[in-house]
Symmetry: C2
Subunit: 332 residues, 2 copies
Amino acid sequence: MASRRPTIEDVAREAGVSRATTSRVINNLPGASDQVRDRVHRAVADLGYQPNAAARALASGRAPVIDLVVVAHETKPSELGVNPYFSRVLAGMLSALDDTGTAMRVRLVAPSDASDALDRLADGVTTGAVLVNVPPPMATRFHRRCRRVVSLGGTAAHIPAVEAENETGAHAAVAHLYGLGRRHIAAVHGPDRNTCAASRRVGHLDAIHDAGVPDVAADGGFWRDGGYRAATQVMAADPTLDALFVACDLMAVGAIQAIVATGRRVPDDVAVVGFDDSILAVATNPSLTTVRLPVEDMAAAAARTLLNDDAKPYFRQIFPVDLVRRRSTSLG
Amino acid sequence: MASRRPTIEDVAREAGVSRATTSRVINNLPGASDQVRDRVHRAVADLGYQPNAAARALASGRAPVIDLVVVAHETKPSELGVNPYFSRVLAGMLSALDDTGTAMRVRLVAPSDASDALDRLADGVTTGAVLVNVPPPMATRFHRRCRRVVSLGGTAAHIPAVEAENETGAHAAVAHLYGLGRRHIAAVHGPDRNTCAASRRVGHLDAIHDAGVPDVAADGGFWRDGGYRAATQVMAADPTLDALFVACDLMAVGAIQAIVATGRRVPDDVAVVGFDDSILAVATNPSLTTVRLPVEDMAAAAARTLLNDDAKPYFRQIFPVDLVRRRSTSLG
DNA sequence: TTGTACGCGTTATCAG
DNA sequence: CTGATAACGCGTACAA
């Protein structure tokens, strides 16, 4: 007996008007008397009518969907499930999409076949796409096939992006450590190919240059165990180390464990500053002084930019960062 | 000059066959000579043809999309961005969807207007929906409007679900603490309305009953600060407390901080066992002994069930859990 | 094995 | 302000 879902045709008949008029009313377009509007709305309610998304998308040439495109290894122990950064992006985008009737689609592409995959995705994009961790060359390529894009973190200059003051943040972090009286400040960086990591490295170099501190650093690849290894490495390189700047909280978690494993105490022997201010920063012991990245706000801004069709070439929105002092740098 | 995207019509013309034949070849349906197949494939490659998703969805009545439906407060400080559970679900589903051509759509619905929102979602579902944190009544209602559903965590008996042995896990956790010689074992639970939380509570009660330990417990709402408060509360209720079972890692993070804040040491004074084995379990200090929930595997199984159209009523797949011993329960 | 023709549910462009 | 009617691009019975 399960009668099929009512179509706009059924609504039109019920309301005693044409499909066209019905469509206008439903889409809030001008050209329909209030009387007719009422009749249609009533019919919609009576029949429990809901527009068919596929038909809409086909006819209008656009679907109410924003893609979140992430380049990440699917094989590695679940990058997505381990680094809070991604879920914060998700949360931010979803909050911006709330009540807009626009849904979010998540696309994960492996770095290996990323180019091909991105090409295919670029053609399927509708309202727009937010790029996360997509290297500049690929982002450029994507942008060529699809203009409705916003990258989270800078790539090429002409590609619309929402960024954070990574450089400033890293500088502030190092300055904070220096201000604490620390003079042997090492660093654990993210992968070079990542533009955020690169910016933070620049800020760090700038700061230690100002302070006349030598550059002792290692790459932790934005992974926890990478942070552990890199921290171990820099401690070996400079046994007098008394401070560590770590380019993301996840690596900082590993770094702290590495420090403690050598018998050193945090912050007494080694003060640590992270980057992100994710849940991890308040899960560690001691809690982590870190540079707060407003990831949720940034992701929401990216989504809104797409919704408003503001993603013109060279578009840019830059968010400030903020040093959050916690126990990993404060004695007593 | 930007010529429109090629349609199947263009491909057909290029290959010198009809649309129908072209469609068959593209969809790998029987009824096409190898020779024709080759010609069509070549034409597809030459033109860079890509099927239009919307048209496909409309014609076939099904879109290659799986919905992830989550009931959560959007207002609260980003539940999604803070609890690793959600991102693990995402990671698991995405790994199952990899190479299937099926995308994932995320739908966040607020508890307040959840019923209405779910009704609307249920009609828009295509390949299927995975339900997360959807209370039994709403899940039932959803299931009535849309059969292609799998719930992550049990709800009503007839609703297809992928579950974990929460009860067994909680029992094992408490037994572990008891085995350590601890006799004053308290607990921090999740919200009653959450079925997983309820199961863990049952396992806990069962275990302390076996052990003859009194029931000292508080609700932490599955939140970090809730865990902090609840731990503080049970320590006040029983100052001789020497062990704590916490129903999720996020709350355990707060609990450990609360314990340390009172001057007690973990595990020396109070041993702690969490639940989940998320990244948080290895971020705390000391690292957290916890009950491992194979969230990624469960989410992947749920997605696969939908892909295979196996989501019949009363469908059930139950995953074992596993106690992972770390420093929060081991001296020395 | 291949082609014809119709339907999918809307939107959008015209007349009226 | 309203109503025919033509796209939109593809899947699929049915016929050849």
